[in-house]
Homo-oligomer: 586 residues x 2
């Protein structure tokens, strides 16, 4: 885009009405301000203003990736099936993958991520530890056939990502590469100019270990995260509580089964329990709720899983999904209950659960709060009966822990750093130590110093570039429109010629040209339109600074406006250019 | 890419062997020098060096498009079927289109060109003549499922194009927009720095009228073009001869049929004719060869077509294809001859051809040389017989002209500017006046000055951006490797530290850093490799200037090499940086 653009010629039309499908502010404003245009669900065209913001994001990302020595490459979006077959992702991606045939009936896909391609390329070129470390990145269009594309660019089906991968010969190298990317990401997100948090994350379907997400703090975010006053921060899916230390249970009476008619819910059970033992003062936290679900593994096998959580908490569906990936979670059906008669609906108890040494039975995993020596009321595996004083480690032994209970505002942070606050965010970046999963699957090895073949360890680092445009719009807009951080704005300054008379337009043009000559990107509103229209459009378009050349000109002043604060001040027209330069470069 | 890169860290491996599938030098060198890597037929990954060249081309194109006020947008590559259905291209593109379904079974395609999208976007935003003229462009990845992807990037299936469209209210506006684009293209191709010609072109399947191509002059080009000393230049498919003026035929005897056994070819026919009339001195040019083909129209209907050309020329298949588009040409089969008994194979004559007033019969079109009053020997529509003294306009009347005869080296140019030279070229750009085809199909109208709805007229302007990388490699390489024009080279200078000793590498590094600090892109070959390897790689990689820091350093000199000319000269090391700066910015 040229340094100086005129509204009379700029390819933009602002809309007075919200688009019918706008679910979130960023989508509404980006559409109304003429930045993007919908083509199909989750698929958008970039108009000149939107593309300028996108290119600004790309430039910042590129500069900071180059600065850590990452090298830019570009893979195709149209990819053959074979490499994705080797890692089983051709199948694992399921309906999220756009698949197609070429004219010779060959199988192709539109790349949702490029782990396989990066891995194979490095394997193709490199063979020695001397070649490493290496970091490669690309800024590229990706495709994912989302079940529910939504919120404009926030969850699209065609989108732009920066993805990079590091390649190291050992863990220490991976840690250095990870740290370098983390530092670069902080620089990038600082430059993008909005509120974000870095949280612990799960690595999802990608495999790997250490993993952090960069989240934009946003009410409309799809992600929930927690943070504590002491600095703990994590995506709820990644919160991991320390298992409870064993407690002594010598004084606890033997488990005893009681009749508990009409007590198939926790609430009714607590009421019945307190009737039976009025002095106990039972609460929901004293009951052990056993939730049964069906896991469907990628190979299609189905496995029942029972999860034991304190009765005052539910299982969090997203935490569960993230934990059992790549298996999928399905509800346990009537037929399933019939097939597994040891599971008595409403009265499931741990005594009948768990796998034997040969792996037979129903897998039983418990919340970390269900530690050795804890005492519970739970189902007796018989209709209308519960068991009391059931002690973990004495009366039942779980197959392991699973940390998927819901997290509540005020829960203590796992690291003891204080009560956790729950908030919503939009994932903008994800860095993680991928490890050797892809290198192993595709045979990426190098010779180490001793001449031995070792499998390379990889890091994976992504930024949603097109999503960043929407996220930043989402978190910076107000009730008048967009409000861009300075480094992202399509133009640094918008100049409004308001009022009649050739002199006003001439002076506005003169200032605009002087600014453009100084390398400042200027949008001049030279339209034959009312001041009201120009003011409204200026606020809608969201350049950080605007200058009104109008009636004040007769008194030798123009008005300087700050989009974010709303501040307005008159400045002398004679020194206006210097003043504006100082404002936008300051 | 950073200003200063080190070969020891650059993600590149040079290959000593040609890739097995390399058909042309550009493909061979780009692969061997580590610029690109094949992923699938016609689908390539860009390595850091290749991507740097691609981005240089993009930058030049973008700067010159911006300079004429064209505004950049970006459409999706994944597109819904509907708009392409409206213009019938969903069908017309045939097997060349990559088609796919989304998870809801919706029809999508990967965009081969975006006429529909540009047209609809302007329709969406604009409604008045005051909004025009407008020029929009994008630099974007496109897809075409080529039957025979070949020659590396020259004919790929995923490729990068700059495509722009102009929108005007009338022909005069279209002409101005066309002229502006033409001037911008000349600047772009001049900056790209290689040998090109601008030739008249057909507009192919796109419709439209005035049309020119920018061709790189290249032996391996798929296009054939002609040029004359007087400045005529055209793609052979676009050469149009002026129809011959009528000549008097009063003195020509009546047509007479003769027995001509065994004369089913032009050569045997001329021999037989000269036996019959020894004084006539017949040549092949006196015979009228009637070539029959089957046209298959987009709607599937089949129509026979007979083409009459002087017997000393063949029909040029590519000229014929370009002329009858969007119909396709198929050979006339045995069965076809059976179905049309008036066509006697080897003896087809114009007397039996031509459409009657109701459109019945076989369409007969003739070369422009077959003018009224010209006299011919042709088939008599009877086995073993030919007719002599057959006069066009007296004995037969063609249905029209068709200019598809082969063009030969030395043929006079249609405009009288001298004999034509034939040469091969690679199409790098195409500009043409598209007119109202898409605006009409999709209803793009604006109100004119009188408040009347008028259909917008469009220009279409393309540049093959990824193809440009290959084309320029193709036309500038030599037998040692690549040889980039200065504005395209990934690095302006390559510095080779040759010979042992820390001092040499230290000085080479010092020079490299000094150049980088001056904003010059430098590649430093700091590898532990022999001078021979470094020299060979340097020539293979093709930076325009290289500097050898080696043995001469002891005498206070380094060597400056010019990749294109092969010139080498020693320069004092003390003033080397200044000298190199002058060399690469000069």
């Amino acid at each position: 885009m040229s340094e100086l653009a005129r509204m009379s010629q700029l390819f933009v039309r602002t809309l007075r009405e919200d688009p019918a499908d706008a679910e979130v502010p960023s989508h509404r404003w980006l559409t109304r301000a003429g930045y993007i245009r919908r083509v199909a669900p989750g698929i958008y065209s970039w108009l000149p203003l939107g593309l300028a913001v996108l290119q600004n994001v790309e430039r910042i990302v590129r500069e900071e990736m180059d600065a850590i020595g990452a090298q830019e490459v570009r893979f195709p979006a149209l990819l053959p099936r074979e490499p994705y077959e080797a890692t089983n992702r051709w199948t694992e991606y399921g309906d999220n993958l756009f698949r197609l045939h070429d004219r010779r009936d060959g199988d192709y896909l539109l790349g949702p991520t490029h782990e396989e391609m990066f891995t194979l390329l490095v394997k193709d070129l490199y063979s020695s530890y001397k070649d490493l470390p290496l970091s490669l990145y690309q800024i590229q269009t990706k495709y994912r056939d989302e079940a529910r594309p939504r919120a404009g660019l926030l969850r699209g089906r065609e989108f732009v990502m920066k993805d990079s991968y590091s390649f190291d010969v050992d863990e220490a190298g991976l840690q250095r590469s990870y740290d370098a990317h983390r530092a670069a990401y902080i620089k990038i997100f600082d430059r993008l100019g909005f509120d974000y948090v870095i949280v612990r994350a799960t690595s999802g379907a990608m495999g790997g270990s250490a993993s952090e997400e960069f989240l934009a703090v946003a009410e409309n975010g799809e992600d929930t995260f927690v943070r504590s006053p002491g600095g703990y921060a994590a995506n709820v899916e990644a919160v991991r509580f320390t298992p409870a230390d064993p407690v002594p249970f010598d004084g606890i009476p033997a488990a005893h089964v009681e009749d508990t008619p009409d007590a198939a819910t926790i609430e009714t059970l607590v009421a019945v329990a307190n009737e039976l033992f009025p002095e106990a003062g039972y609460t929901a936290a004293d009951t052990l709720k056993n939730v049964v679900v069906m896991l469907v593994h990628p190979d299609g096998t189905r496995e029942p899983l029972v999860i034991g959580v304190p009765g005052d908490r539910d299982v969090d569906a997203k935490r569960l999904e993230a934990t059992v990936e790549p298996a999928e979670v399905e509800p346990f059906t009537e037929d399933d209950f019939t097939a597994f008669p040891q599971l008595v609906r409403g009265y499931i108890g741990p005594q009948a659960l768990g796998l034997d040494e040969e792996g037979h039975g129903v897998r039983y995993l418990v919340d970390p709060r269900v530690g050795e020596g804890t005492r519970w009321i739970s189902g007796a595996n018989e209709d209308g009966k519960h068991v009391f004083d059931l002690v973990c480690g004495r009366d039942f032994t779980p197959d392991g822990l699973i940390d998927v209970a819901e997290i509540r505002q005020g829960d203590p942070a796992p690291d003891g750093s204080g009560p956790m606050e729950l908030a919503r965010g939009i994932e903008m970046g994800h860095i993680f130590q991928l490890g050797r999963k892809y290198a192993e699957a595709l045979g990426l090895k190098v010779l180490d110093q001793n001449g031995k073949q070792v499998t390379v360890t990889m890091g994976s680092y992504g930024i949603g570039v097109s999503r960043a445009v929407a996220t930043i719009a989402e978190t910076t807009c107000d009730d008048k429109g967009l409000c861009w951080p300075r480094e992202l704005a399509p133009f640094a300054v918008q100049i409004l010629a308001t009022g009649k008379g050739d002199e006003i337009l001439a002076k506005a043009t003169e200032i605009a040209e002087a600014l453009a000559a100084r390398g400042i990107r200027v949008l001049l509103d030279d339209r034959k339109a009312s001041p009201g229209v120009k003011f409204a459009d200026s606020e809608l378009l969201g350049m950080p600074t605007s200058v009104v050349v109008g009636r004040g000109l007769a008194h030798g002043v123009v008005e300087l406006r700050d989009r974010r604060t709303g501040d307005k001040q008159e400045i002398p027209v004679d020194t206006a250019v210097e003043r504006i330069v100082a404002e936008v470069t300051g």
